[in-house]
C-alpha cells in the first residue's frame, strides 16, 4: 500500500513539474531553412528567410520573407508577425551573406546569436553571395525542389568534387577566431536561370571579402587543407606538341587518389619559410595527346609537377596580395616557430604576405585508366 501511495504521489509530482515550457510541436513551427543577411544603401540590416510550407492547400511549397531589423534575433519578431507559425532556427541549412554586408569590417558581430543560442543551428553552410541577397530569395525555380534544399545540395555536391569549400557556422567561428588562418566560405551567384557556385570566397581576418578563389584553385586549396577528401579531379595543360591546327588542347586530366602532405617550417632572413612537400598518387582519366606512357611516364610526371607548382605559386601570391592565409600556414608557424610567431601573432596575414612558400609536388602515376 505504501509503495502504491508513493507511486501515485511521485506521478502527481512529475506531472506538475514545469519542465515542458520549450515544447513546440512540429506543426506549430516554421522551420527556417535558409537565412540571408544583407545591408541596403542606407546601411540598414535586411534579414531574409525561407521556410517550407506543409499545407496541401497552399500552391507554393515554401514561403520567403525579408524584414528590416537591427539584429538577427530582432528579425525573428518581424518574421513571427508574418509567417503562419513560430519561427525556429534549429534547422537552418544555409546562411547567406550579401556582397555589400561583407564589405563591413564588423559584420561578424551580427552572428553572435548563432553561437550563443544553443537552439540555433551551427551546421548552417556559410555562403557569400555575389550580388544582392534579395535576388536569391525572390528566385523561385520551377524545375528545382525548394530553393533551400536545392542550394544545400548544390553546396554539398560541389564540395564533394572540391569546387568550393563547405564551411559550417561552427567551423567559420573557429576560422574567425583562429589567428593562424583566415576564413573561406562558399561563394554563390544568382545567374539568370540558376544558382551557380562561383568557387571559394576569401575573407580577411575580420571577415571582409578579399577575393575569389576559382573552383580550379579551390581544388589546390582543399588538397592543402584536407589532403584527400571527396573526389579530386584536376585538368592541366601539358605542352607536348604545339599543333596549332588541332582543336584538341594538349591537356591531361587525372584523379588524385592519395595526398601526402608535409610542411617544413623555418624562419630565415626575417621571413617565415614554408616548404610544402606534396606526394600525389594520381590516376589518369583523360589524355588529349598521344604519349608513350610506358617509356616516358617519368617525364610526364615531371611536367605535371611543374604545372602544379606553377598553379600553387600563383594561388599563394594571390592570397598574399589579398592579405589572407586560407591555407592556415599560421598554424604551422605557431607550432614550429613559436617565439617568432608570438611577435607577429596579432597580424599574421601581414607576416604571411611576406613569407615564402615553396611548393614541391611529387606526382606518381599509379593508374592509367582502362585503355592503354
Amino acid at each position: 500500500m505504501r509503495a502504491l501511495l508513493r507511486m501515485i504521489w511521485s506521478t502527481v509530482l512529475v506531472v506538475m513539474l514545469s519542465g515542458c515550457m520549450d515544447r513546440i510541436y512540429l506543426e506549430d513551427a516554421t522551420l527556417s531553412l535558409m537565412v540571408g543577411l544583407d545591408v541596403n544603401e542606407k546601411n540598414e540590416l535586411l534579414v531574409y528567410m525561407t521556410s517550407p510550407v506543409f499545407s496541401e492547400e497552399a500552391k507554393e511549397k515554401s514561403e520567403e520573407y525579408g524584414v528590416r531589423a537591427s539584429t538577427i534575433r530582432e528579425s525573428r519578431m518581424g518574421f513571427d508577425e508574418i509567417v503562419t507559425a513560430l519561427t525556429v532556427s534549429g534547422k537552418i541549412q544555409v546562411l547567406i551573406l550579401g556582397q555589400r554586408l561583407l564589405q563591413h569590417p564588423d559584420w561578424f558581430r551580427l552572428l553572435d546569436v548563432v553561437f550563443r543560442d544553443a537552439k540555433f543551428s551551427v551546421n548552417a553552410r556559410m555562403v557569400a553571395l555575389d550580388g544582392p541577397v534579395s535576388e536569391m530569395f525572390e528566385y523561385r525555380p520551377k524545375d528545382k525542389p525548394r530553393l533551400a534544399l536545392h542550394v544545400t545540395k548544390l553546396i554539398d555536391t560541389a564540395n564533394y568534387r572540391n569546387l568550393t569549400v563547405k564551411t559550417r557556422a561552427q567551423e567559420f567561428h573557429r576560422q574567425m577566431f583562429e589567428p593562424g588562418i583566415t576564413p573561406t566560405i562558399t561563394e554563390l551567384r544568382k545567374e539568370k536561370r540558376a544558382v551557380k557556385v562561383m568557387g571559394t570566397a576569401m575573407l580577411t581576418e575580420n571577415g571582409v571579402y578579399a577575393g575569389l578563389i576559382e573552383p580550379r584553385n579551390t581544388l589546390l586549396l582543399q588538397m592543402m587543407l584536407h589532403e584527400k577528401q571527396g573526389e579530386i579531379s584536376v585538368t592541366i595543360p601539358i605542352q607536348e606538341q604545339n599543333d596549332q591546327k588541332s582543336i584538341v588542347a594538349g591537356k591531361i586530366s587525372f584523379f588524385v587518389k592519395g595526398v601526402n602532405k608535409k610542411v617544413k617550417t623555418t624562419y630565415r632572413d626575417g621571413k617565415f619559410q614554408f616548404d610544402v612537400q606534396m606526394g600525389l598518387d594520381v590516376s589518369i582519366s583523360e589524355r588529349m595527346f598521344p604519349y608513350n606512357m610506358e617509356k616516358d611516364y617519368k617525364k610526364l610526371e615531371k611536367m605535371m609537377e611543374a604545372e602544379l607548382r606553377k598553379d600553387y605559386d600563383l594561388l599563394v601570391k594571390k592570397c598574399q596580395a589579398a592579405k589572407t592565409d586560407p591555407f592556415g600556414f599560421g598554424l604551422y608557424a605557431r607550432a614550429y616557430e613559436y617565439k617568432r610567431w608570438k611577435k607577429i601573432e596579432n597580424d599574421w596575414p601581414k607576416a604571411f604576405s611576406e613569407a615564402e612558400v615553396h611548393f614541391k609536388p611529387e606526382v606518381s602515376i599509379k593508374g592509367n585508366g582502362v585503355t592503354k
Binding site: V15, L31, S55
Partner: protein, 515 residues
C-alpha cells in the same frame, strides 16, 4: 485521515480469518465400527451426489468392507478390475492378505479422516473394514485428461512437439524423459486450504544451489490460500518484487525448455492442474532465449538474439522517441525526413502524444481482442484492424503516415520477443516512456531509460540478481547472452544460477577439428 484508515485496514492477521472457514481440519481417528465410519463420511461429504459407498462381504476378509470413492474422479475400470473383482470373485488364495489381492500399484494405510478426505478428493478409493482402526487407500485416479499436444504459446521450429498438460504426473514424466537421472529429485509441497494443490519442486540435487532451493521452499510454504489455480498465481505469490512490470520467474509449457533450465541448475515447480511449469531463478537475458537458439547454427542464432534485443529497445522506445523528436527536438531529425514528417503531420489535428496514444491503444485493443476470439472471427478482427490502422485513419487525416509506420514497427518488434510475459512488460513500459517523452522530450526518455536500467539491475529472482550476467558482470556467462557461442565453448554451467557443480561438459571441440 479516513482514507489512510481505509488503506491500513488490513490489521488482523490472515491466520485468524482463515481459521474461521477451515472447518475441514479433521484430525479424527478412524473408528473400528464400520457404521460409525460411514456416518462420519456422510457428515463430511454432504451434498456430494458423486460419492459412492459400496458395502460388501469378501471371502478373503473377515467382516464387512466399505469401498468409498468419488464417481467423478476415480477410474471405474480400475476399481472394477483391480479392487472389486479380486475381492468379490476370487475363491482361491484365501491365505493372501488384502494388500496382495489388490492389483493396483500404490496401496497404503491411513489412520485418520483428514487423510481419507484428502485422498477421496484426489480420486483415490478408500477401503474401510469392519473392526479395523485403519483404512486402505487404493490409487485409482481417473479424471478427464487432454492429450499431449504441440505447445501453443511457445511454438518452436526444431524443438520437441510435446507440451505440458494439466496432470502433474504426465508433466513429470515428460521432463524425466529428458533427464533420466537419479539426481533429478522432486519435493512435493501441498498448497491451499480448500483445493490443496500439489506442487512438485524439481531440481538436480548435485547441480542446483541448496540455498536457492531453500528460499523457494520457504516462500511456497508461507502461502495461505484457498487454492492455486494456475502457475501464474503461484508466481505472483512467490516472486521477489510484486511491483515490477517484469516477469521474475519463467513459465514454460515446453518440457525441453524445462530440462534445459534444470541442467543449468535452475529449479522447476510443476503445479498440478496447470499446463505450465514455473522456473527460477530467472535472469533478464533468459527471457530472450529460446530452445531453437541451440539447434540452429550459432552465427544465425547470435544474429537472431541481437535482433531480439534490438526489438526490445525498439518496442520500448520508438514511439517515445517519435513523440520527443517531433514535439521538442526536431533539430536532430535529418532535413529530408523532417520535411516528409512535416508534410504527413500537416493534416493531423492532434498533438503527437494523443496521436501516438490513439494508435498504440488501438493496436493493443486489436491484439487483445484477437487472443480470445474464436479463430474465424479473429481473422475478421485482423482485417478490420488492418484497414482501420493502415488506411482509413491516414486518409481521414486523424493520424500521420509516419505514426502508422512507427506503430507497425513497434508491434512487430514486440512480437519478436519470445517470452509472452516479457513482451507484455515491454508493451506496458512503452506507454510510460511515451508519457515521459511527451512531457520532457529526450531528457524524459533518458530519465526513463536510467530508471529502467536501475530497476532491472536492482531486481532479484529468488534472491539471485536478475541483471546477471550484465550486472553483476559475469563474463563467463556472456557466452550465452547476446552472442550464442558454439555449444562446445560453453563448458561450464551459467554462474548466474549459482550451481554447485560448475562443469557441464568436457572438451568436445578436439574431436571434430583435430588435424
Amino acid at each position: 485521515m479516513a482514507m489512510r484508515g481505509w488503506l491500513r485496514r488490513k490489521k488482523t492477521s490472515a491466520k485468524d480469518r482463515m481459521s474461521r472457514r477451515s472447518e475441514s481440519h479433521y484430525v479424527r481417528e478412524i473408528h473400528d465400527q464400520l457404521p460409525d465410519n460411514i456416518a462420519e463420511l456422510q457428515r463430511i461429504f454432504t451434498l456430494t451426489p458423486d460419492l459412492v459407498i459400496r458395502q460388501f462381504n469378501s471371502l478373503q476378509v473377515e467382516g464387512q468392507i466399505a469401498l468409498v470413492y468419488l464417481r467423478s474422479l476415480a477410474d471405474k475400470n480400475s476399481i472394477n478390475n483391480n479392487v472389486l473383482r479380486p475381492l468379490l470373485n476370487q475363491r482361491e488364495g484365501a491365505d493372501k492378505s488384502l494388500f496382495e489381492l489388490l492389483s493396483v500399484g500404490k496401496v497404503f494405510t491411513v489412520y485418520n479422516f483428514q487423510s481419507v478426505e484428502t485422498e477421496i478428493l484426489q480420486g483415490s478409493s478408500v477401503l474401510f473394514i469392519e473392526g479395523r482402526k485403519e483404512a486402505l487407500v487404493v490409487e485409482t485416479h481417473g479424471w478427464p485428461q487432454r492429450a499431449i499436444e504441440d505447445p501453443q504459446l511457445e511454438a518452436s521450429l526444431k524443438g520437441a512437439h510435446q507440451g505440458f498438460v494439466e496432470t502433474d504426473a504426465q508433466n513429470i514424466a515428460l521432463i524425466r524423459r529428458y533427464i533420466p537421472n537419479r539426481e533429478l529429485k522432486i519435493k512435493e509441497i501441498w498448497v491451499g486450504e480448500r483445493g490443496a494443490t500439489k506442487l512438485s519442486v524439481m531440481f538436480l540435487a548435485d547441480v542446483a544451489n541448496p540455498d536457492v532451493l531453500q528460499e523457494l521452499e520457504d516462500r511456497i510454504k508461507l502461502i495461505e490460500v484457498d487454492t492455486i489455480l494456475n502457475t501464474g498465481e503461484l508466481e505472483e505469490y512467490i516472486e521477489d518484487n510484486p511491483y515490477s512490470p517484469f516477469p521474475q520467474l519463467i513459465t514454460s509449457e515446453r518440457p525441453d525448455t524445462v530440462a534445459s533450465h534444470l541442467l543449468q541448475g535452475k529449479i522447476a515447480v510443476i503445479v498440478d492442474r496447470s499446463p505450465s511449469v514455473l522456473i527460477g531463478p530467472a535472469s533478464f537475458p533468459s527471457f530472450f532465449q529460446n530452445v531453437d537458439d541451440y539447434s540452429t547454427r550459432w552465427l544465425v542464432a547470435t544474429f537472431i538474439r541481437m535482433l531480439r534485443y534490438l526489438a526490445f529497445i525498439v518496442a520500448t522506445f520508438l514511439p517515445a522517441i517519435y513523440i520527443a523528436l517531433i514535439s521538442f527536438n526536431y533539430e536532430v531529425i535529418p532535413l529530408d525526413l523532417i520535411l516528409s514528417i512535416g508534410e504527413s503531420r500537416e493534416k493531423v489535428p492532434f498533438p503527437p502524444l494523443l496521436e501516438a496514444l490513439l494508435m498504440e491503444l488501438t493496436l493493443e485493443m486489436l491484439r487483445e481482442s484477437g487472443i480470445r476470439l474464436p479463430a474465424p472471427i479473429g481473422q475478421t478482427v485482423g482485417i478490420v484492424g488492418g484497414i482501420v490502422i493502415g488506411q482509413a485513419v491516414v486518409q481521414a487525416g486523424i493520424v500521420s503516415n509516419i505514426m502508422v509506420i512507427v506503430v507497425a514497427f513497434t508491434a512487430i518488434s514486440s512480437f519478436i520477443i519470445p517470452n509472452y510475459d516479457m513482451a507484455s512488460a515491454v508493451r506496458f513500459i512503452r506507454f510510460i516512456m511515451m508519457l515521459l517523452a511527451a512531457m520532457f522530450g529526450i531528457v524524459g526518455i533518458v530519465v526513463g531509460l536510467m530508471a529502467l536500467i536501475g530497476h532491472l539491475i536492482s531486481l532479484e529472482s529468488l534472491g539471485v540478481p536478475y541483471g546477471s550476467p550484465l550486472a553483476p558482470v559475469r563474463f563467463s556467462d556472456w557466452k550465452d547472452f547476446i552472442v550464442r557461442s558454439p555449444l562446445w565453448k560453453m563448458m561450464d554451467r551459467p554462474k548466474g544460477t549459482r550451481p554447485i557443480q560448475e562443469k557441464r561438459q568436457g572438451n568436445n571441440r578436439l574431436k571434430g577439428s583435430e588435424k
